[in-house]
Symmetry: C2
Subunit: 517 residues, 2 copies
């Protein structure tokens, strides 16, 4: 049995918080004022937010990304944020970061707030009926819980459980909106920032941030800070706020097994001609055992163990496994014997997609010519993403495959019985973890705690990935993640959404962080 | 080593042919006359054929099938074929068969010629650039051999190696056109039919002929004959003409493995949430060993062994394995140690298609909610298609799956760790084999031999499937297949095509068969 989390209720929010933030405070008066302002102002906030969501922001759509960045600049200018500008990379044609700042006389530290404005690719056909990725729609609750489409309330009074559906609603236009509106709430309520605030909104995160390093390096003078605060990802599945001190790294491999150069009738050639789908399923099946452990040689090597304080934090993360199984409609887990928190502290291998021939009504009695799969690797501290890709490739070779990064030539087809094209996507990166014991990190934990009467969950590592290593590499900077989205936001998939309560509370959290002195 | 085929050249085409048709004859004078007529008339034949191909004929397109049937009736009426009519099923809304007949005074037997006018489903996006399934195009040779698009020749002189690309070009509008034009050539050259001829063109073959039995039963009086001659499928890969005495049966299963009810971020949940694509690949991988043999219990039971004469015929089928490997760009086969002819005399299991999540540019870092595959089973004599489906289902259960034919309920999701929906397609059927020793079969072998100076390949079983058992069941009738299409016709897939030479020689063959007395 995992140790249960015990609550200790404090009467005053100024109490000193222990490393693991288990103490519970009432909301601070400042946060209450911000909360009230947000409630009154919700209509304006959400109108602006839906206009923002209506702008397409996928990586391939340069014009859409330009419009999105321009929209953010206008949001910042409206709030009187200074030095609003685009930070371009050296490489031409790259989606720029959007920058702004607010300098506070006498401030002792500088916090820089990060979110990203680009979104994951969309396949509109997979979205639920009545939804389209860039036509934001308000629903009475989550669609899969029976939510129905609603008009915006004329009185501007929004219920916390309502949701807005659109690509980017949670990942990560919500982050951009929370940061900018957090600053507005602070100013409008007469509460002033306690520190210098910098704003940095990236435009290439979902493409793997290939030019982020360039941008950080080129504009390093402007981007000095004491701490980066990353507003991306979901809060804890228990609904509790959470701070994450690290992220998993990410890398991708695209695999394509080739067989006959032309599609064959499965009757005339079935049994005789190799079936690339069967070849690929056998190859993928060889990568995991029945307990969900990756069987690729050395896959779990290199992992840097958690420190004692990280282990303690992990043990205090509320157990949500049963709740999540119920919610997701599953009755088992992939890695047998591990909790969700434990599982995401391990490197992983996932099939994101597989395709060969056709299914359903388009299926025909054929032996396809090729079969493709996309493999996603997550790294934890110690793993090197390119080494991890190589381990998979070595495993594929050990299964008897000839590996190429091109379509096979006729010569290769003659020579090799099993041929696979492996594309090592070059946008991978490693995991990152910031120490929980830094003084500024302590202040961040305290600030988040002022916004909630509940536990603030401290996660050594988020399951998701952000290219946080880049900040260390180019700016020698530390990062910490303070996410706001509801956990059931469908980020990276169809029907992405944000819960209204999470957006509004996210604004409060950003404002509270900006009050750090 | 397999016994090599030895040629014995005869000086006269009227020589008696042995059971296995190994004897070689010059083309008969009648066939030469037909061939000359076809060459002169090729422009008209192909113009009409491309008009025919331009009519969509997929199962779901009722209007398209009606137009296709009407076009065939007009083709038949133009040639003076009698009693042209639609044979409807008892069930309403079913694509009818097209019937016609030519009665010859004093004829001693009646041959009925079969082809089907419906085509396989199409996925237009998968066709090569410049091609569309229902916009027939003429090419200078096969596209994958560098063929280029051409205009129809003004002088009506077609080269045998040119190809026409369209759905149905070979499977099986070519069969319809060959039969009708075969009759026309016979009449126009003054050579008369030697037997009564009946024409029967089915409209549901690619949908598994679900109502063929009804049609045969309802119109049994009209459909009496001494022998059905099925014009469907390809000639031998060696380019030699072939006669097939049987077909494999066919059955399909649609498999869908379910995991989380909503798509999950592969970072936040990877390692913990079950991945349905990984589950499905492990399940499919369990169905075959590395030698291409199906590992499902009892899969090869029930098979009726070939008779000594069938075994002899099989041993005389020219070996095309090395030629086919070269042509297809493969260097190995699935069932290790078996030739192509041997492999198609075994039951088979093939993945026709698999799909989960997205691949390529649409891929995103998700754990999909489900994974689907379409499995095609081929039966040989002795296998029962429903029993064969059941063996697969039993195997799936033995892997720990709960099998349902619906989407799983929340209750089922709670109860079972591994859930799969299995749709047993109801359009399956068994294999069929006609004895080679029947007198009318001997005449058919002789007639085909009059059209070629080469070997006529005699196949105990074709790899493909036709619902031939239905003819036995409802009419107690025997069937034999005399295919005409080039073997590299891409039937059932994108870029379906017919070689002009195969179409014209197919017409000759049909005419030669109609001269049987």
């Amino acid at each position: 049995m995992r140790k249960q989390f015990s609550l200790v209720v404090l009467t005053c929010c100024t109490a000193s918080f222990g490393l693991f933030g288990q103490l519970v405070a009432a909301q601070s008066p400042g946060v209450v004022a911000i909360s009230n302002y947000n409630k009154k102002n919700a209509g304006n906030i959400i109108n602006e937010f839906t206009d923002f969501l209506a702008i397409p922001n996928v990586a391939a759509d340069t014009a859409g990304l330009q419009k999105t960045a321009a929209f953010i600049m206008s949001m910042m200018n409206k709030r009187g944020i200074q030095k609003v500008q685009l930070l371009k990379a050296v490489t031409p044609g790259v989606a720029p970061a959007v920058y702004g700042e607010v300098m506070v006389p006498g401030a002792k530290q500088t916090l820089i707030f990060y979110a990203h404005y680009d979104g994951q690719p969309v396949n509109a056909a997979q979205w639920a009926k009545g939804l389209a990725p860039f036509e934001p729609k308000l629903f009475s609750q989550a669609i899969d819980k029976g939510g129905v489409k609603m008009a915006a309330p004329a009185d501007g009074r929004y219920n916390n459980d309502w949701r807005i559906y659109a690509r980017g609603a949670s990942d990560d236009k919500a982050g951009v909106a929370a940061i900018i509106n957090g600053y507005e709430a602070l100013i409008k309520t007469g509460l002033l920032p306690g520190c210098n605030i910098k704003f940095f909104f990236e435009g290439e995160e979902e493409a793997g941030s290939p030019h982020l390093g360039e941008i950080l390096q080129k504009h390093s003078a402007l981007l000095q800070s004491d701490q980066w605060i990353m507003c991306d990802g979901p809060v804890h599945q228990s609904g509790k706020k959470q701070i994450a001190f690290g992220v998993r790294g990410d890398a991708r491999l695209d695999l394509t097994v080739y067989a006959s150069k032309r599609p064959l009738h499965s009757g005339h050639y079935g049994n005789w001609a190799p079936n690339p789908a069967m070849m690929l399923v056998k190859l993928l099946a060889s990568m995991k055992d029945d307990n969900g452990r990756v069987t690729i040689k050395g896959f779990y090597d290199d992992v840097v163990p958690l420190t004692p304080s990280e282990k303690k934090a992990l043990s205090e993360v509320p157990l949500v496994d049963e709740q999540m199984k119920e919610e997701l409609g599953i009755s088992t887990v992939e890695m047998k014997g591990l909790t969700l928190s434990e599982a995401i502290n391990q490197p992983s291998l996932n099939i994101n997609g597989i395709q060969s021939g056709n299914v359903g009504k388009q299926a025909s009695n054929q032996i396809p010519t090729f079969a493709t799969a996309v493999i996603d690797l997550r790294m934890v501290l110690g793993n090197d993403w390119q080494r991890q890709q190589q381990k998979v490739i070595d495993h594929i070779k050990a299964q008897g495959y000839y590996v190429t990064d091109k379509e096979p030539t006729d010569e290769e087809r003659k020579k090799y019985a099993q041929i696979i094209q492996v594309i090592r996507k070059q946008d991978g990166y490693n995991a990152q973890r910031t120490s929980m014991s830094l003084p500024v990190v302590q202040k961040i934990i305290e600030a988040v705690q002022t916004t909630t009467t509940g536990q603030v969950v401290l996660q050594p590592t988020m399951g998701g990935s952000l290219p946080l290593f880049v900040f260390e590499k180019y700016l020698n900077a530390k990062t910490i993640s303070v996410p706001i989205a509801n956990h059931d936001n469908n980020q990276h998939a169809e029907n992405e959404n944000i819960r209204i309560g999470n957006l509004l509370e996210g604004i409060e959290m950003m404002a509270a962080l900006m009050m750090i002195k």
